[in-house]
Subunit: 219 residues, 2 copies
């Protein structure tokens, strides 16, 4: 049987694997708020259970990866439920979904998904995998094509130019943020955003063309 603890490790490894090039013991320890010694020990158990490929190469097996996606699926469906159905704010739901994601019943997950009318993304705009673990193909568009008033998620950049990335950094822009388009200036194509419900940011058309977004739920 897979414990809640193991599920949390698998989820952490999945997320780290998405961003970091190679996942390390200390990165997992940092993320899980555990000591490296505990992580090292746990990795042995995950290997014995066939959830990671190797102790020296912390990569999920197919089985581990499927498990991770099931947990993420449940987490995101429950977050969607909490916001859409129970009127929670989109930034209040994480800790509750962390508990609900471990409830075991595939029928429950499917019924919840049906009730929510098969959402493609959660309230943070993150994609929800289907029951086979496939993520939806979210249509990615440049910020310059965004519609005023709508909510989007910052997904990727079209260039890696150092001064461009530096510019984003100065503006406080980071991947995964939720951007609401406040207004779009037809004259020069500049855009005014509300970032994470907190800061207003102005961007020129030149910049907006190089920022890729996808539509995030809950406008």
């Amino acid at each position: 049987m897979i414990s809640t603890t193991i599920e949390n490790y698998i989820k952490a490894i999945f997320y780290l694997g998405e961003t970091a090039t190679n996942v390390t013991v200390s990165a997992v320890a940092e993320r899980m708020q555990n000591s490296p010694a505990s992580v090292s020990d746990m990795l042995r158990r995950l290997y014995e259970k066939g959830l990671i490929e190797d102790k020296n190469n912390i990569t999920l097996t197919d089985q581990g990866s499927f498990l991770a996606k099931q947990i993420i699926r449940k987490h995101r469906l429950w977050e969607t439920f909490l916001v859409k159905t129970l009127d929670f704010k989109w930034d209040e739901v994480h800790s509750i979904a962390e508990q609900l994601e471990h409830v075991q019943s595939s029928l429950l997950t499917e019924r919840l998904e049906r009730f929510l009318e098969y959402p493609e993304t959660d309230p943070h705009g993150d994609p929800i995998p289907d029951k086979d673990g496939n993520f939806p193909n979210l249509s990615i568009i440049p910020l310059s094509e965004a519609e005023p008033g709508k909510s989007y998620i910052f997904r990727s950049v079209a260039t890696d130019a150092k001064d461009f990335l530096n510019h984003l950094d100065n503006k406080g822009l980071q991947l995964g943020q939720r951007w609401v388009i406040i207004e779009k200036e037809e004259f020069d194509g500049s855009v005014k955003l509300l970032v994470d419900d907190k800061n207003e940011v102005y961007l020129s058309e030149k910049v907006a063309k190089n920022l890729n977004i996808c539509s995030g739920q809950l406008d």
Copy 2:
């Protein structure tokens, strides 16, 4: 912190306390499917945490009782959600609710209750305590006043006469059952029931007047 394990013990003791005169180690062991040794050990911990009055008198303290009612409240609200909102059958929901009842967030429980429009009973007809632990006053009526087509829960008997109880036993009638009124004969006041969605039972008016029921949800 109170673990899921402890919550399950407290719930078991609460339920046993409702029916049995005195709760014993072996009764708890039987109900929890654990060895008496484990239960004995756990009772020490429950006492240390102030959840039971005494090791020789297994009775919940006010704190323990409140905790039990919170768990029962969550269990019954989730069962109601599963049946009313996600279209589960009323006999499929127990094991899922056993997991959901341990999710910790009083705000979640209150929002769920509001979403369900403050139900007084769960799909089995069991009463749902409010957030202060008070059970609703379900209006108890004799079976002779039941309305055809509606669903009720068998709650109590108006007499303890031995041959009367024996008669109920012969008909397979037990407290807590869900009774759907199939028809009521105006001529002689006799009643035809469907017991727990399984057996049809005919009862005379004389018997029906001595059986107390309350309305159970989900007709």
